[in-house]
């Protein structure tokens, strides 16, 4: 029976991304008449293990003192051993930066194939086919992963969550033999400063600024607006590259992929590479001086104005209305 592994990392909670991976794994396993195996790398509280046991056919816990913290080489080695012990047909990972760097290397070591940024997944004749954006979001490719195991990192938050199963799956440990890899040593890990309590990927409302703001100063104004809305801040690549705001604010093809209820783009033209990062936003709204800016092609509503005339006033109105 073909095994589909959904790979979850223990240092994350069972968030929207995790249940999305599990959902995709569950559906693929069903279509393959296979078994859905959850591979938990690292530790998780008993409540999470219990929850996982209802979302899969088996739960495998790969825990080891060296897996408490992400280390590219040891985490990869642990993942390879754990996958080999399960003998998978498909391995699914999320689209966090760790999964992105692990997936191709994992595929190489398992002798399989790899593809990433999968938007949708399906089975055809026992082979998994995925769609993924290419050419900076201007086109979409369908990729057939012909060599098993197929290691795929997916747009986790865009996937339907896993359904709770009636039967409780067995939870078993994976025996690992790992050694510290001295070739890479972690000197420091700085968690990015956030405006609010949530990660950008999980934010419900986002205010984002682009090249049109012209410098770091106007972003302060946008931050005030975001505060008034209870929104997180983001930016286009141009604004990050210019050093106006931290690189961690970047949304797009090579930045964060966000999925908010509302994405308010200000003085941001909307290059296809940026749009790739906001494809999962429910509502996009924009303020831009150029009526032909591509961003308007993706907006539910918009305003053709100079942001300088709008932002302060908008903040005032929003505060009044929210009272």
């Amino acid at each position: 029976m073909p095994n589909v592994i959904s790979c979850i990392f223990g240092w994350n909670e069972l968030d929207r991304a995790a249940v999305g991976i599990l959902g995709a794994g569950q559906r693929l396993a069903k279509d393959l008449n296979g078994k859905h195996c959850v591979l938990l790398v690292g530790m998780a509280p008993a409540t999470v293990l219990d929850e996982l046991s209802y979302l899969a056919d088996s739960v495998h816990v790969a825990d080891h003192p060296l897996l408490g913290k992400y280390h590219s080489e040891t985490t990869l080695a642990g993942l390879v051993q754990a996958c080999r012990s399960i003998n998978p047909h498909i391995v699914l990972l999320g689209n966090d930066t760790y999964s992105q760097e692990l997936a191709p290397r994992l595929a190489h070591r398992l002798g399989g194939s790899a593809a990433g940024d999968a938007l949708s997944l399906r089975i055809e004749g026992g082979i998994v086919l995925i769609t993924r954006p290419v050419y900076g979001g201007k086109a979409q490719a369908t990729v057939a992963l012909r060599r098993a195991p197929a290691v795929i990192w997916i747009r986790a938050r865009a996937q339907e969550p896993a359904q709770r199963q009636d039967q409780r799956a067995e939870v078993s440990p994976v025996a690992l033999s790992l050694q510290a890899d001295e070739r890479i040593r972690i000197v420091s890990q700085q968690t990015e400063a956030r405006n609010g309590a949530v990660r950008l990927e999980d934010a419900r409302f986002i205010v984002s600024g682009g090249r049109g703001l012209g410098g770091p100063e106007p972003f302060k104004q946008l931050q005030d607006l975001a505060k008034a809305m209870g929104a997180e801040m983001a930016a286009s690549r141009a604004a990050c590259d210019a050093g106006w705001v931290p690189a961690t604010w970047q949304v797009g093809q090579t930045g964060k992929k966000v999925a908010p209820e509302l994405y308010l783009a200000i003085a941001l033209s909307g290059a296809s590479q940026h749009l790739m990062g906001i494809a999962d936003a429910k509502v996009i709204a924009a303020i831009n001086t150029d009526p032909d800016a591509p961003i308007f092609g993706h907006c539910r509503f918009g305003m053709v104005e100079d942001y300088r005339n709008v932002v302060g006033l908008l903040q005032k109105k929003l505060l009044e209305m929210r009272k």
């Binding site: 190489h108 990433g116 050419y135 086109a139 012909r146 000197v187 961690t248 308007f296 006033l313 929003l318």
Partner: protein, 275 residues
């Protein structure tokens, strides 16, 4: 420090979506009037290498695997004063089974690894985090696997360790923020864009000079990789389409700016309340 930088030539990603067409037969973008450019993250990697050489010295070899046209990105690298440039030409056999000419990452990394072994003793290989055409983001990791080296991804800055010249200090972006790592060479590093590695512009004089400098050419046969090039594809592109989007942006109406902003604010509140 002996540095290898891998550079990919791609279709200019800045072409507007309205001019973008795909060839459904060849399963690639139509060239049209678009130019061919150095992939931006490769340019970031090259800039990182140049800055590193300025600080600690060493040699830079630029390597590209692609069509004959990829000579251009190597000439540009020479104009930016890399020490050597090597082009491995993508002389694919005419394979009827394989529709797409796209070289898959598993093959690319095998070619780059073979070229790296052939060219010398490198301490550090820099690649871009991904390319603006297929955006696979696999080459760096796979190259590390081919060579049996460790890999650091999404690096934004590179320094030499003060205590040991064989140790590199890499600042890299992660899911949660920024991480500083110390890594022993040899090492593969994938480079992401950052305010400190914005590519420099070559001097006109150096651009002219670059065309007179030697450029080494190498075929897959010379790397004994002909068989790999025609081997079955692990992950194959089977369809390529331009997604059709329908959009109807409602531009808020109102006599005065204040009225328009009020309507805009009401729409925002409505979305936030229904969320």
């Amino acid at each position: 420090m002996n540095i290898l930088v891998c550079l990919k030539q791609i279709l200019d990603p800045e072409i507007p979506p309205r001019d973008f067409r795909v060839d459904a037969e060849k399963l690639e973008a139509q060239r049209g009037a678009a130019g061919l450019v150095m992939n931006i993250f490769c340019a970031n990697a090259l800039e990182t290498a140049l800055q590193f050489r300025e600080r600690v010295g060493g040699k830079i070899t630029a390597l590209s695997f692609g069509d004959e046209t990829a000579e251009e990105v190597l000439r540009k690298a020479l104009a930016l004063r890399v020490d050597n440039a090597v082009l491995v030409t993508q002389d694919f056999p005419s394979d009827t089974e394989k529709k797409s000419r796209r070289a898959e990452p598993m093959l690319v990394s095998r070619v780059l690894a073979a070229a790296a072994r052939r060219l010398g003793d490198f301490d550090l290989i820099l690649v871009g985090r991904e390319a603006g055409d297929w955006g696979e983001g696999q080459t760096g990791g796979l190259l590390a696997e081919e060579l049996g080296w460790p890999c650091v991804s999404f690096a934004e800055q590179l320094e030499q360790s003060v205590s040991d010249p064989k140790i590199l200090q890499v600042r890299r972006q992660t899911e949660n923020g920024v991480e500083v790592l110390e890594a022993a060479s040899p090492l593969v590093v994938t480079v992401t864009n950052h305010e400190h590695n914005v590519p420099r512009i070559p001097k006109t004089r150096d651009v002219m000079m670059a065309y007179r400098q030697p450029l080494t050419r190498c075929s897959l046969a010379e790397l004994a990789l002909e068989a790999s090039a025609s081997a079955s594809v692990a992950a194959e592109v089977v369809a390529l389409t331009v997604p059709q989007k329908e959009s109807h942006c409602e531009f808020v109406a109102g006599e005065t700016l204040e009225e328009r902003v009020t309507v805009f604010a009401e729409r925002i509140i409505a979305v936030m309340r229904s969320a």
